[in-house]
Symmetry: D3
Subunit: 260 residues, 6 copies
């Protein structure tokens, strides 16, 4: 029953018991960002939450409410801030949100916390939030251990080779493309409009960024490489790589017993 | 079909069209906070989102992803920060989140934005976030109008008189009590454990606050006045007051035509 | 001799002795804000200081210099930021001022500190300032106890019933109205221009706020309900409620002996 | 009648009229800081306010409520932060206070603002506050002109030669010494305890500072050079230099007509 | 004569002339960070400056003083914060430095600014600094165009194939390894101790990070993959890729004439 | 061999050894600021670094990379922000840089740190950076001792009498004048253009500052008093005063043995 993994659907008394039993807490760090005409604006936080719930269900963990607004979209990995609907926060805002959340989970008695980043641009501001919290909490003395991960990094090479028979274009271009679309078809198929996948070929970016952004670098659809070829089956394989891989990483790093 | 009111379930292209058509955007400002043994930790953001969706459905609006972490819980209105599960942010973090979100909705072309506060302690930091954004955007020159409300303020006196035949204890004590429980029974009954409602009588607070908090002032359950007598029927009446009232306020202030 | 309660009129050596003897320190948190044509711009900090001095004289406490600039005036409780003379600070500024002051009183060896809020809009940013300081100082380990209060909350129901024979309009509307005017007539009558009291009836606000503010909601005088009927006698009764009530609260919470 | 120069004793309507007539506004930037056994903790803000009122009376200006808390006391100019009673704020707090105040006076329509610094350590954080405000307000386009001064810099050499027949030790050492004591004897004699002036000779500081501070560098009384020889007469002469000099500077810079 | 490219070696009058002539300004964004036993702590800012000077010499640009302190070193790309000598700043500090610098170059009349990132961990905080400045300056209206680049991204695939006959381990592991060592041998050979290159094989990191860091993941030398095989010749080829590539990018994006 | 004093030219292993042996670390805090037509924009950080290196060579210390961007130039001591080339940061940025650097040197095990201020406007923001770091590190418990100095304060009166036979104009006016020019002729003569020294006589400033600045107060060259009469010989004498004086101060305060 997946409801039980969602912290915000539990009473504080149930949550307290779960934390006392050592539950790992997952904090999805997503975004509200254009994902082409075929995926919803919430893709990044919805996927980060779905993956967190998948892992939590495997290991008896809990999922905190997602951070639904992420760092500013950049043209080369998310299309950029000129798209309508992309709703981003300043770096300091995101770092403060993460710092405050980590501080609170520590107060709850959480010993093992996993920040699941689902938006490429978030990584470093989430990192800084963790660093600020750990400094404030006294580092290793706090008894808190935090894992931070970008979920796509758990895709295995074999899987990528199969998913991209024509060669993997790299994660940065995988915005609203095959991986995200397939994962959405696996986890939240009702939010995917396969018929609206645009034909935009892979964007070709130079090895630098410009400010103000060169919006002409980005396909008008916001898709950085084609989502054609996405399928729920591919999504299931990728999800297994990711959720299974995170579950193994969590068990290994946090020295947990395998949960029956 | 309620799905269509949720911004994060729309593609950016659909969202852009809706914004261009003048859709009012609602931003629920909730919290993750203990709500006694019978209500979930997410009550404040879940209710703020449900009410926002209810209003949005009535007037053709859109609901942005909720801010799920609110300002620090205070003993006299939310039980306080000593409860496990309550997960709060600093005032500056919340104000920055709101400021950044308002700035982005303005960039999208949103002209009419409603911040629906669902957590008593949020009000002033949400206010400051709006004030900071409006100053940056140039005030009235921005063309953006923002409404901020605490949803319970739309309960009508007649309704309160009926819901509380023994007298209304006031909104501050209404934490995890009859109003919130009844609204949850109306909107999200699967998350209410009626059998776990504690008998805690109304808390009796002095006219001041102490830091560090006097935790003994607060019932150990976290419920500030009894939720006994809550019902889905009362919830429906309160929801009608609130959602209907907000819809009327939005139409009146934003000079909208009545939507068929 | 009231001079002796004012910290800034004592030498550091006298102050140090008083603190070593356990003096309670009061920090008035006021504002510079329009208060109609009949009350001065300094009403909020002048009253907070006068009340603090009244209490300090009763219990042997000390009054620190007032914070004379408060959080931004809101239409529904202070008239709003469109009035000339209202001089407000950002929320983060006020919280930082309070945090820094609390940190310093702690360094002095003060164990019992009372923040007397005299401006409705200040409450939450003063709260955050205290919270930030207490976190930095280590909470209960600091040995410092802080009380925060809004002085009007000590008005007794009986008194309000007498002062408002036609019914009490509520504290939010009591801006530049009977309570503040009467208190000023009691404490600082030379600053009241009774002949300039406007006839503005009670403002009637909807249950939400708008940004930019709807200035037409606010009487042009800045008075939210009429100050007619104010008197020094009422002020004396209210002052006795407030100063006496605070003195009792301080003695009760801080386990002080009654001072002869 | 000096009351009329104090902004916080005027109604907003009177203030608005005065501002519309072009009144120069003075903002005293003081501190709460030890000033030896013979001067009160409030010396810096009390003197800055008194001098501001003196100038304002000469030129028809207005005095805003003083900033009563200043930047951290340094051993070589104020004795240091190890003294009880010294109550200081972080640099960013002071700069934010000043920035916010300048922004508000600009909103009021004030065109000519004078920040009267009465605490040596304040100068640069007050400067930064002004710089931040002017940048935000658009610099010269704002129509606002701000003067910042440290009041002691208006003491004339001839006067210093007379006041210090044995040679002027310099302003940094003039903490709680002859200039401040004489000015207090002129403006606020009831707050000076001449019988408590200590015999501490001039402190002798090296050309550097140490952190943590070398508290042994500072006389235990907190007086950096002797206040012996202070007199109300000297105070009157210094006050004439200062208040007269500021008045002349204000008239010259702001191209005011001489006020009858 | 390379001296002339260094802004801080020119008088303001010469600089003003060069800016008026349209000179591109380069701001190296480096770090002070361990780079193994064979490279100096300043490698990142020294290389970013050397490359900037190389490019500036080719196109008639100017090099501003380097930011010599970068964002916190992470185990998987820089070894981590547990190394002595690594001297890092908070993310907000770095972003503020960059924002302030960009604002100032804009004030100077610089139209074309290039931020040359020489420290992997800097990228996103430098990005945020640019974003904050561009928002403040009004975006495209400012007339300022900024390029941000990580210099290693200009290494061509053919070169990498030659430099790493056994396969390129990726840029993240290229900390204190063949690319940096070869570039240092090209630009600053006197600072390289070839005899101290350790034998540490490539570090093998999992697809996540832990806080507090797992310091055992990182070779004690701080070198993430071996620098064996580094040579000045390779450095020259890499430098030509990088400096030549940046020069071409600058000319292309900024529509400059080729400089004779 | 001076190279060995520069931290950024050492490997982390050499640096760690030097720190373990008790090396004093010097952090030059300079600026990029106009210094007339005859001195380079980098004068303040170049001189602060050269002096730091000179002292470090005398006592076996180490010099960290300079902070090359300082607080905003003020007309009366640096010419002001209206000059092209002057590149300044906000006060909070500089304080944060210093705070972060002090925190890191403490982590390295540095016990004795000297901040060498080479830009008049930096003093108070550097002070605040140190204060913020020391508070965070626990003050005296940290085991860290920090000295902060403005290098010109070590010029001896006898030397100034000789260098300025016509009378010393004071350090504030000594911007780009005889002291700085002579020190540059001593340390970095290749960067001085003696033939471009302007004839600008000493600027004559009133005892207050104006915002926006009165740029007409400042000679168009940016030189506040004439650099005529500067010489390498004078520079050598001043350098001996300064470097020798700092070396003595460091030995005295840090109880070091005289280094052979």
């Amino acid at each position: 029953m997946t409801a039980t993994v969602h912290m915000d659907r539990l009473s504080w008394i149930e949550y307290e018991r779960r934390v006392a039993e050592g539950a790992v807490v997952f904090l999805p760090c997503g975004a509200t960002e254009q994902h082409g005409p075929h995926l919803p604006l919430g893709t990044d936080h919805l996927l980060a939450s779905a993956i967190s719930a998948d892992v939590a269900a495997r290991i008896g963990g809990l999922v905190a409410p997602a951070l639904a607004y992420g760092y500013k979209s950049q043209p080369k990995c998310g299309g950029g801030q000129h798209f309508c609907g992309t709703t981003s926060v300043d770096g300091a805002t995101l770092s403060a949100m993460v710092r405050d959340a980590v501080r609170e989970f520590h107060r709850h008695g959480v010993k093992r916390l996993v920040l699941v980043v689902g938006h490429y641009e978030n990584q470093w501001f989430v990192t800084e939030g963790i660093e600020l919290a750990m400094r404030e909490l006294g580092g290793a003395k706090s008894g808190l251990e935090v894992m931070r991960l970008e979920h796509w990094d758990f895709c295995r090479e074999e899987t990528l080779a199969d998913v991209f028979p024509g060669g993997f274009p790299g994660f940065a271009l995988e915005h609203a493309a095959v991986i995200e679309t397939s994962l959405m078809l696996h986890y939240l198929p009702e939010l995917v409009s396969l018929d609206k996948i645009p034909d935009d070929g892979p964007a070709d970016f130079p090895p630098y960024d410009m400010y103000p952004p060169r919006t002409e670098w980005v396909p008008p659809s916001g898709v950085l490489s084609s989502a054609r070829g996405s399928s729920a089956e591919k999504g299931a394989r990728l999800a297994e790589d990711i959720a299974g891989g995170i579950a193994r990483a969590v068990r290994a790093e946090f020295a947990m017993e395998h949960r029956a």
